[in-house]
């Protein structure tokens, strides 16, 4: 086991004010059960799960309440024992209205009877391990929520040689992953070994930004006695180094091809939270029913890292943190760079809620944008080597095919461009709008193609 510095540097990227001090030293606190949990069926990327319980049913913790609907989907489990109050349509963090199961906890918090751990997981087959992960409904906990069992089953023609455990946590303010590494390094490392076995990866890199020295120390202790090609990589603090493609480049120097996936360069990246969930699913046999969310920002009375049941409302979370002091102008689910502004505290946490950020009025400006002055700062900042200024103007002119031509679809919506734009152009919103339109174009093309082959 060794500690090394990242060998490559991602072009672009920015250095926002991190403000991690607000919550980074506050140990993870478990939140008591709220009076109602509203569990969304859209916990992950892909098709929302199908609710399989009805009003009045009693459920036990870990019991399946939503079955995966499709290949890219994940099961949803009851976060505690109690009664199903209703199946409702409730908004998710992005505003979409999706089915959700409301559970009134009976406060006994009784697990399903057949939960059984596998302390001797090393003797299990790869297939059995993947099934355990899949049954536990594990999905990427860094933010995107890609179902983990899908990521861990690459097609047979792809060999995975490098496993990267992502502890970069490059989003400003968020500190949940940092705390997980400090407090549960051993378990994360076990989770990592499980994933190694599943993928057959020989090389493991644990990527941590150098603004988290305690996390590096803790992971070092946990991994100290490990043999093999295993290392902790210290990344220079820079946003967006937690993004998969950027991280792979910083560590291996390999570039994921346009429209490709990390597995195309033989790598898989898993977030530390996800790794811990894999450990819990395999070693303890427990489905994913809770996560750690950073509740932070200057208006929060007692910022902290809160272990909460999935389905806890944002309002309950903030209340648990002592409510607010002073005015709050904006509430963001996730981090300030890639999170989603919220208009209601009724929204509930999911497997991907890494943070809940409250911003005071002085940090929220209402600006209006002016025309591009062609300064090129956005081009400098874009870690995907795009030309956001050009793209945004094309999208404004509704010339989506031209934007697609110059690789609009590679945009990862990191926000580095908009962060730097002196003209305050709504660049990321343009990208999102453009990507949406191109997606529609692609779908239509596919349909046409399908029709042609039918004839």
């Amino acid at each position: 086991m060794k500690i090394e510095n990242a060998q490559f540097r991602v072009d672009g990227g920015i250095h926002p004010v991190y403000n991690k001090h607000l919550a980074k030293d506050n140990a993870i606190q478990a939140m008591p059960l709220p009076s109602l949990l509203r569990v969304s069926m859209s916990q992950h990327l892909g098709a929302p799960a199908k609710p399989v319980v009805a009003k009045g049913d009693t459920v036990l913790r870990g019991q399946i309440i939503g079955e995966p609907a499709g290949f890219i989907s994940a099961a949803v489990h009851a976060p505690t024992s109690g009664t199903v109050k209703a199946i409702v349509q409730a908004p998710t963090a992005t505003g979409q209205s999706v089915a959700a199961v409301e559970i009134e906890p009976d406060c006994e918090d009784k697990w399903r009877d057949d939960i059984k751990g596998n302390p001797n997981w090393e003797s299990l087959e790869v297939k059995e391990l993947i099934d355990l992960v899949s049954d536990a409904g594990v999905a990427g906990m860094g933010g995107a929520g890609f179902p983990t069992h899908v990521k861990l089953s690459p097609p047979p023609n792809k060999t995975i040689d490098t496993l990267i455990i992502n502890g970069a946590e490059c989003e400003p303010y968020l500190t949940a992953d940092n705390r997980l590494m400090i407090e549960q390094a051993e378990n994360i490392w076990t989770g990592c070994r499980i994933i190694m076995k599943i993928l057959g990866a020989q090389t493991v890199r644990v990527a941590i930004e150098d603004n988290k020295p305690e996390a590096i120390e803790a992971m070092e202790m946990a991994m100290a006695s490990t043999e093999g090609n295993v290392a902790i990589v210290k990344l220079k603090t820079e946003y967006p180094q937690g993004a998969e493609k950027q991280q792979i480049f910083a560590i291996t120097g390999k570039e994921v091809p346009s429209a490709g996936l990390p597995m195309d360069v033989g790598a898989v990246v898993e977030n530390v939270g996800t790794t811990l969930a894999v450990w819990d699913a395999v070693v303890n046999g427990k489905p994913l029913t809770e996560r750690v969310t950073s509740v932070t920002g200057t208006p929060v009375s007692k910022p902290g890292n809160i272990r909460n049941r999935i389905g806890t409302s944002y309002g309950d979370l903030i209340e648990f943190c002592g409510g607010t002091e002073g005015d709050t102008a904006k509430i963001i689910s996730g981090g300030p760079m890639m999170g989603f502004a919220q208009s209601s505290l009724e929204v509930t946490t999911t497997k991907t809620t890494s943070g809940l950020l409250l911003l005071p009025p002085k940090l929220v400006t209402n600006y209006s944008s002016t025309p591009c002055i062609s300064c090129g700062r956005c081009v400098d900042g874009c870690p995907m080597y795009l030309m956001p200024c050009e793209l945004s103007q094309m999208i404004e002119a509704e010339d989506y095919s031209a934007a697609r031509e110059i690789n609009l679809m590679d945009c990862i919506e990191c926000g580095c461009c908009a962060f730097q734009c002196p003209a305050h152009r709504p660049l990321v919103q343009h990208m999102r709008q453009g990507k949406g339109q191109v997606m529609i174009m692609m779908r239509e093309e596919k349909e046409k193609e399908a029709e042609k082959t039918k004839d």
Binding site: P91, T94, G95, S97, A341, S343, S344, P426, Q429, Q433
Partner: protein
């Protein structure tokens, strides 16, 4: 020979040969375009709005002559164009009834509150994909004017965060319909005057919280008209524009206050175009 003479002869010869070739080409390779196409094109208004589903007026003219396209597809031209085309083609004029667009939402900013302050691109699609739109009602008009920017005649007015279409200006081209991310714009016969201006599929109590002029699904109006001219689609009452619905008492009777009478458009249209059809 004198070099000047040689050059003159050579160039003159080449010129004559080319001229001859061109003359032959003009005679044997000529493309005969039906003169009626141009005549037809001259009868069309030249708005190039695309409402007929052809690529501009010239294309439509070609389709009429060559592909027997219907002659009643030109909405802006109205009756006068139709009659002229009918006379030219020697067929009977059977007018497709003039259509106009309508926005089926009545919640302006006084009646339908917003759930957050939106500070992004002033475009309805963009606004609709940010937190699913800033309007409390998930179905109502966002008022960022994507439709009005698509309208070739400026018939759509945005005021107090609500799009309203002026039927006397609408040429029925349908360009606005597909721009609306909330699918609020419908093409209806221009003679219709009674409308239910709500598209919310939410149940009554939710509608009430989000808008003071929304359909609460009480079904009262459906019972006041004949021939199922208004039907319920879930909790929303919908006017069937192919049926007769003129009962103005429904306006007062509607507890949701979402039924509205808009002055007849057909008359205004005819006047504006100075139609001579009798």
């Amino acid at each position: 020979m004198h070099p000047v003479l040689t050059t003159t002869l050579a160039i003159g010869g080449v010129g004559a040969a080319c001229g001859g070739a061109l003359a032959m080409a003009a005679k044997f390779l000529a493309v005969h375009e039906d003169p009626r196409i141009e005549e037809t094109a001259n009868l069309l208004p030249g708005a190039n709005c695309g409402g007929c589903a052809y690529a501009g007026c010239a294309d439509y003219a070609k389709a009429i002559i060559l592909d027997d396209a219907e002659i009643n597809l030109c909405a802006p031209g109205g009756e006068s164009t139709l009659c002229a085309l009918a006379a030219m083609m020697g067929v009977e004029a059977s007018a497709a009834e003039k259509k106009v667009a309508i926005v089926l939402c009545g919640g302006d900013s006084d009646k339908a509150p917003r759930k957050f302050a939106y500070n992004g691109i002033a475009d309805c699609t963009a606004a609709n994909s940010t937190g699913a739109g800033d309007k409390k009602c998930a179905y109502g008009c966002l008022g960022y004017g994507s439709c009005s920017r698509a309208c070739p005649t400026g018939a759509i007015e945005i005021s107090k965060g609500l799009a309203t279409i002026h039927p006397e200006l609408c040429i029925g081209c349908g360009a606005c319909v597909k721009t609306c991310p909330r699918k609020l714009i419908h093409m209806i016969p221009a003679s219709r005057t009674m409308h239910i201006l709500c598209s919310s599929k939410d149940k009554g109590p939710i509608v009430k919280k989000a808008c003071s002029v929304g359909c609460i699904g009480c079904t009262k109006c459906t019972k006041m008209v004949e021939d199922e001219a208004i039907t319920m689609q879930g909790p929303l009452a919908i006017v069937d524009y192919t049926k007769d619905y003129t009962n103005e008492e429904t306006i007062e009777a509607c507890p949701g206050k979402c039924i509205k009478k808009v002055p007849a458009v057909a008359k205004a249209m005819a006047g504006r175009q100075g139609s001579t059809v009798d």
